[in-house]
Amino acid sequence: MAVPKADKLGVSVTREPSLMTGAVPSKSWMDTPVEFKPGNFCYPAKKSIVEYHKFPNPRDWEPVADDWKLPANWKDIILQGIKERLDKFRSFKIFMDCCVRCGACADKCHFFLGTGDPKNMPVMRAELLRSIYRNNFTTAGKILGKLAGGREMTFGVLKEWFMYFYQCTECRRCSVFCPYGIDTAEITMMGRELLHLVGVNINWILEPAANSNRTGNHMGLQPHTIKDNIGYLCDDIEEITGVKITPTFNRKGAEILFITPSADIFAEPGIYTAMGYLLLFEHLGLDYTWSTYASEGGNFGLFTNNEMMKKLNGKMYAEAKRLGVKWILGGECGHMWRVIHQYMDTMNGPADFLEQPTSPITGTRFENAASTKMVHISEFTADLIKHKKLKLDPSRNNHRIVTFHDSCNPARAMGLIEEPREVIKAAANNFFEMPANTIREQTFCCGSGTGLNTDEIMELRMRAGLPRANAVQYVHDKHKVNTLACVCAIDRATLTSLMNYWVPGVEVCGVSELVGNALVMDGEKERETGLRFEPLAGEGE
């Protein structure tokens, strides 16, 4: 599964016949079966992991095999599953009925742009499921069958679902353009839920979900390891700034509980973002605590099914209640914030044991979080900056020429667009936007979200990330941009691979890293390097 070199892949993306390059497949999509080969699918979930979740049909199986060891009545299970979901989700029902196949969504999907595979057009992805819906649940489909766009549920269809519902990152870009607001994220969620019913799933999602359940975070970090890791970050901070920070863990009576994706305290470049948080909170003298139990902001349940999402998310409120904090502050993460913003209160609220979040520094009441009682770090920081409560020296980021990648969910499921920009502009002097069609609500996914950031599909990821990379390339060439800032932990991991592949010379960082770099701490020594021990502008060059 060697991944071709970027220049080679670049040529093949533009030259190879595909629907993107103008070649029209001769056969109808219904007559085009999928073929699994190494590199175009994610590894199935391990039997033990499926058993741990008590999900149906745990077994060892291979996507390339002809026999997926499905339950004998798998078709009935799927059809029954569709019926149940039609009754539970109005979105699903309407999205099945309303599409007119106008094609406006077709070239909005990063997977389609990068692969040219017709089934990656959002409309087509939905048709994979819609055709079954029509055949079995609509009058026209029952009478006219194929003529009404219906088709039988077959093993071939199931394979298509596994292929293409795992080539969608639920980024919702298509839904911005759809005249009826049809959201492929909803379709993909339903598709994945249905696949789970017959035991078809991927390990890169279910194992992190299992870890999150047991250890509190998807990395599987145990409590002492979390404390150790953050301790190491504090050591680095001390070395760089001369300031000694001693954060607390699981401390009852703290005012604020801070939750961020566990990747931020474990892997580069997320750890620099975590150092930014630590410096910021120290700078403010914030009365806050980390939790080792609720130590994951991200929610792999969102990529699994709504039950798992609720179960994993439940820890946030449970821990806030146990510790007796007043409100919760959340770190930088994309889909984590989709869950918090659009699902958490509904699933696990009401959070009546918490108080409406109020910044202890500025006194600002976060009216927009009045019920959920959880505030995004960019909102919190932007408020501090507006009230001039941060001593910032943006010239410390002069070695960085920054652009900002809007993460899908904050942009299209929250409307968090200006806050991180306000923060960046205060913390850095060089900031350039990517082209308008690739940012804000039209932003492109990193290409590896929703649990697809696994190495076995690297070529696919690089293709899907091409639209994002291409926009970065544009500002890299035009403005010498060398830093891609973002507010998402998955982005920090995946965009790094993406940049290394398509736009070498561009580093990825969290917005809070820029803040940490610029913060002038009380009693600090003169800084010679940034948080990555990288030389600052004018130093050591």
Binding site: G10, G103, T138, P179, H224, K311, T346, R412, E418, N470
Partner: protein
């Protein structure tokens, strides 16, 4: 097949109507029975479908936010693309329904050597779609002249506006041209654009042909082939007053036109044409983005789904936690006396 079958189907329907008017009782069937049936099927089917959608709850608040959300007081919210209030949502829906806001955003992506992606403006679909829908609407309203006696003033005004070009006799209606032109564009677009051609189904072509059939027969009647307008008006008024009768020889063309209209009405609720109703109910558009301000209720939220408990977590990791100086709720069982560790020890600096 996906193009030919629906085309043949519409031709077949025209032939059926043509033959139908010639057999005894056929005119009553097409002119009187079928319209009632069609109206019944349309309203019944429409209501049934909408109620069917409404029966399923909206468990989560999932608007697609297309602009800055409500945030700190000094950050300017995009109140129409990311509304947080009822009136904001109403505005967003009006833009969507009346002006096709989302489609207006449309772009066309192309890939070039490099690789380089480019996104060009692409407003044709928006423009023609809007033209088609509004022309259709005006034409439907114009037809009210057949059912009203005397005609209300606004119909006169509408007819005057629509005929403002003052070409030909009878005067040419702009909407007639626009409707047929738009339909042809949409049809050719489906055939020519590779992506759209690939996704198009028979049920995408059928309504195009059907409406085109209706439009063409209507135009033929108005401008080229004489039909008995007085008879048509008598029948129309009769239909709405529940005393329909067919007087004299109206002309086959009228019956073909009416037959196709009835088919469209019957077909409507069972087809994608229901996007007319669906757009109002789409949860990504008709919900306010206020889910952190106001709790949204999911009627089937399952209270039995609870997280892996802290107690179970601590039971598994207590030893490590105590050793690392992380506070615990229950002390370690064995060295009960010497356990001064606990919350107090936690305040001490971490190792390092």
């Amino acid at each position: 097949m996906r193009v030919l079958y629906p085309f043949l189907a519409v031709i077949a329907f025209i032939l059926i109507a043509l033959v139908g008017v010639r057999i005894p009782g056929g005119q009553s069937l097409i002119g009187i029975v079928l319209p009632y049936l069609a109206i019944l099927a349309f309203t019944g089917g429409f209501v049934f479908k909408v109620l069917g959608w409404a029966r399923s709850p909206v468990p989560f608040r999932i608007p697609t936010t297309c602009g800055q959300g409500v945030s700190l007081p000094w950050i300017k919210q995009n109140k129409l693309d990311c509304p947080s209030t009822f009136w904001g949502v109403a505005g967003r829906m009006l833009l969507e329904v009346l002006l096709f806001r989302s489609l207006f955003r449309n772009t066309k992506a192309s890939i070039h050597k490099g690789p380089q992606l480019a996104y060009g403006s692409s407003k044709w679909l928006w423009l023609v779609g809007l033209t088609f829908h509004y022309s259709f609407l005006v034409i439907v309203i114009r037809h009210m002249r057949l059912f009203t006696n005397p005609m209300p003033a606004f119909l006169h005004a509408l007819e005057f506006g629509d005929g403002i070009l003052q070409v030909g006799a009878p005067q040419l209606y702009i909407t007639d041209l626009l409707l047929v032109g738009a339909l042809l564009f949409l049809f050719v677009r489906r055939l020519v654009m590779p992506q759209v051609r690939y996704i198009s189904l028979a049920n995408d072509y059928f309504p195009l042909f059907l409406i085109l059939g209706i439009g063409i027969t209507g135009i033929l009647m108005r401008y080229f082939i004489r039909v008995d307008v007085v008879g048509i008006k008598q029948l129309a008024v009769g239909l709405v007053t529940f005393s329909p009768k067919i007087v004299g020889d109206i002309g086959s063309l009228f019956f073909i036109h009416l037959f196709l209209v009835c088919l469209l009405l019957i077909y409507f609720p069972f087809s994608k044409l229901m996007h007319l109703g669906g757009v109002f109910l789409s949860p990504t558009r008709n919900m306010a983005n206020n889910s952190r301000m106001k709790r949204h209720i999911n009627p089937w939220n399952d209270p039995n789904i609870t997280p892996h408990s802290y107690a179970a977590y601590e039971d598994e990791f207590r030893e490590f936690m105590v050793e690392a100086g992380i506070p615990v709720d229950k002390e370690l069982a064995k060295p009960a006396e010497s356990a001064a560790a606990g919350p107090a020890a936690e305040a001490a600096p971490a190792e390092g």
